[in-house]
């Protein structure tokens, strides 16, 4: 959305300063588009093309495969072989839509948990003495300095039957039987919440940090007790941060593969795992591609609708 607006503004400015060469400006605007084209649109088209192909015992393992030597007529012949049969297959097998639904559910629950945990952290950071804040921010970012994979692996050591958590709880006498957490959905939730917490905390912090504290005093002055003032003033004003944080957690969590694979068990059904199995176990690239395209549509369409709605609301307000 914003990129469209940017180009419009660019055009009107270009019109105002007519006569000067506009290609410098075009270059500037063009770079992000080029970026999107190379790193998003072209890969997507390749995946989409594979999803319309048929699996084949070949290299690459699908047909038709384009070659430069085909010529236009040859390519047209091959395009005619495309079919949506993989999508029909997806719709026909309950495994897939159960995996989608289950992924979305896991992502929703873990996003809610990340928000519940991240909000107090961000709030505490934003209210901390000014000289502490850079250090606190640093601590939030610190885990990124270690590989994501290693951090998820480390959780196995904590959560497994003879792991650190069980040892600790048993030595303290809290439990006498080890808790079974590893290889369950609980472990997946713990893993997702742990891994994505910084993505929730950072946008929340930036929204809360710029809030004027005199607003809370004003609320109190007008008869609003502090707890109520939080819900009437602080929370509504932090909503942009909440929305940004939720998107940043929800979107990657839906397609998450490493966490359910390492921490989840047989009950854990997530689309990331399905995708992996299609690609690497079944070597069925076309079906795997179809799974990926559907996942993308499932995520992009609601986001675009939501942003449109938000912009309309903003325009109404403005």
């Amino acid at each position: 959305m914003s990129s469209t607006r940017g180009s419009l503004a660019g055009r009107s400015r270009a019109a105002k300063t007519a006569g000067r060469p506009a290609w410098g400006r075009l270059l500037l605007i063009g770079i992000p588009y080029l970026w999107l084209l190379i790193l998003f649109l072209i890969p997507f088209l390749i995946v989409f093309k594979i999803s319309l192909s048929q699996t084949e015992f070949a290299r690459p393992p699908y047909l038709p495969a384009f070659a430069i030597t085909d010529g236009l007529a040859g390519i047209w012949e091959k395009i005619k072989q495309f079919s949506f049969s993989n999508y029909v297959w997806l719709a026909g097998d309950p495994l897939y839509y159960r995996a989608y639904l289950s992924s979305i559910w896991v992502a929703l629950v873990s996003t809610a948990m990340t928000l519940a945990l991240g909000y107090p952290i961000a709030y505490g950071m934003a209210r901390a003495p000014r000289q502490w804040r850079p250090m606190l921010l640093m601590l939030v970012i610190l885990p990124f300095w270690t590989s994501f994979l290693i951090r998820v692996y480390a959780w196995i050591g904590i959560l497994k039957k003879a792991g650190l958590l069980n040892q600790l709880l048993m030595s303290m006498g809290v439990i006498d039987q080890p808790l079974i957490i590893h290889n369950t959905n609980t472990a997946v939730y713990i893993g997702i919440v742990y891994s994505y917490l910084p993505f929730m905390v950072l946008p929340l912090y930036s929204a809360l940090e710029k809030m004027d504290e005199s607003l809370l005093e004003a609320a109190e002055d007008l008869g609003c007790p502090p707890f109520k003032a939080f819900w009437k003033v602080t929370f509504p004003l932090s909503l942009p941060g909440v929305v940004a944080g939720c998107f940043l957690v929800f979107i990657p969590a839906v397609g998450e593969f490493v966490i359910p694979d390492l921490l989840g068990g047989s009950e854990t059904l997530m689309i990331g795992k399905t995708l992996w199995a299609e690609f690497f176990s079944n070597r069925d690239w076309p079906v795997a591609s179809a799974v990926a395209v559907v996942l993308l549509l499932l995520l992009v369409v609601p986001i675009v609708l939501f942003r449109n709605h938000q912009e309309k609301m903003a325009e109404k307000g403005g």
Binding site: E217, E220, D221, L222, G223, C224, K232, G318
Partner: protein
């Protein structure tokens, strides 16, 4: 001290002179410390119902702390704070019948003008119909009806200020606290708004407490002004008294412009104080009932507008008259200000109103002039 008749601004309104009058807000030996720093130092003051009281002082003098203690955002370190006879400590800010207009306005950015004004009323659980009515009333009062559904970021500075005012008045508080309410407005708008504030206070019959560092603002709106320094109130009096009879050099200098000359008292007989300027050695007389001993150090002070400037020596021998030379002239439109260097070395500022386009006695740079003033126009300050 013989009172020069300097009445209160509003004729007949001077409850502070009436020993039987009950104070509405009372500070009893209130001290507020922030760590080592003493913001308010053993302060006692009585403010009366329907009074427009101004706290005036430089930044860091404790004026904002006084206001915040009254609002409930700060607790006094020691001492008592009473409102309408009842002790205020222990009552949280959200239960005090006091509302504040914030310097930053602190309008809720996510709420419309209407909802900002209704915010406090909703907290009180007022029925919806009444809220709507009161909000309408408030919008009419600040003339913002067409902007009811706008958000704060769509308003100009002056409009925001009015919304903040309407919001703080909507609950009809017993006391309205105004923290530098007009600081962000340009001069013209500020002057207009000062008069509007006064009218509003008269109309609503509330007690207003204003914090400001702008002396003109304090003089315009207030019944009484407290000039503050380092957590203490140096002088509390109606504007005219503060201006005409400041009790110290600090007050005299803070309010308006004044010439101060360090002098030695040479005699004091029956209200006619004779002084000799220490540097300039000029002989000065002041008619003032004040206890000063001969040979003690005192400061002679006179406001520039009370100094007469002329090219010839005055004929009246009872006035003070000193010769000098014009050093600088500042033309301000309504008045001109002359910096005159006395023959004995001191500089005195004198102003002259530019009432006539053509002045009979034009005075220019480096002219030899006489400065003169009546003995009852000068002041003797002992501190």
């Amino acid at each position: 001290m013989a009172k020069i008749p300097l009445g209160p601004i509003r004729s007949g309104f001077a409850p502070w002179d009436d020993p039987a009058a009950k104070p509405f807000i009372e500070f009893r030996n209130v001290t507020k410390k922030f760590g080592e720093f003493t913001a308010v130092d053993d302060l006692s003051i009585r403010i009366y119902e329907r009074e427009f009281f101004a706290l005036l002082g430089p930044s860091g003098c404790g004026k904002t702390t006084i206001m915040r203690m009254l609002a409930g955002f700060e607790q006094p370190t020691s001492g008592e704070l009473l409102l309408d006879g009842a002790e205020l400590s222990g009552i949280p800010a959200y239960r005090r019948p006091v509302n504040m207009m914030f310097q930053s306005y602190a309008l809720f950015p996510h709420l419309t003008v209407e909802k900002n004004i209704a915010f406090g009323l909703k907290q009180d659980g007022m029925p919806k119909a009444e809220i709507a009515e009161r909000v309408g009333e408030m919008l009419a009062m600040v003339k913002l009806e067409p902007f009811a559904r706008r958000k704060p970021h769509q308003l100009s500075g002056g409009q925001k200020q009015r919304v903040a005012l309407a919001r703080s008045l909507a609950k009809r508080p017993k006391v309205l606290l105004l923290d530098e309410p007009l600081g962000a407005l340009d001069r013209k708008l500020r002057e207009e708004t000062q008069f509007e504030l006064m009218d509003l206070q008269q109309e609503l019959g509330m007690t207003f407490l204003i914090v400001t560092h702008d002396q003109e603002e304090a003089m315009t709106v207030a019944d009484r002004i407290a000039v503050m320094d380092h957590g203490q109130m140096i002088q509390v009096a109606p504007p005219a008294e503060i201006y005409e009879q400041p009790i110290s050099r600090y007050v005299a200098d803070f309010i308006g412009d004044i010439n101060v000359i360090e002098s030695t008292v040479t005699g004091n007989d029956g209200g006619l104080v004779r002084l000799k300027a220490k540097a300039a050695k000029a002989d000065l007389t002041v008619r003032q009932d004040i206890e000063v001993a001969a040979d003690s150090t005192a400061w002679f002070a006179i406001r520039p507008e009370k100094v007469n400037i002329s090219s010839a020596a005055p004929e009246d021998v009872s006035v003070n008259a000193v010769p000098g030379e014009v050093w600088d002239i500042g033309y301000l439109g309504d008045v001109s200000i002359y910096h005159v260097r006395l023959d004995t070395g001191e500089t005195i500022r004198a102003t002259r109103t530019n009432r006539e386009r053509i002045v009979e006695d034009p005075i220019s740079w480096e002219d030899k002039v006489w400065l003169s003033w009546r003995p009852d126009h000068g002041l003797v300050l002992t501190q």
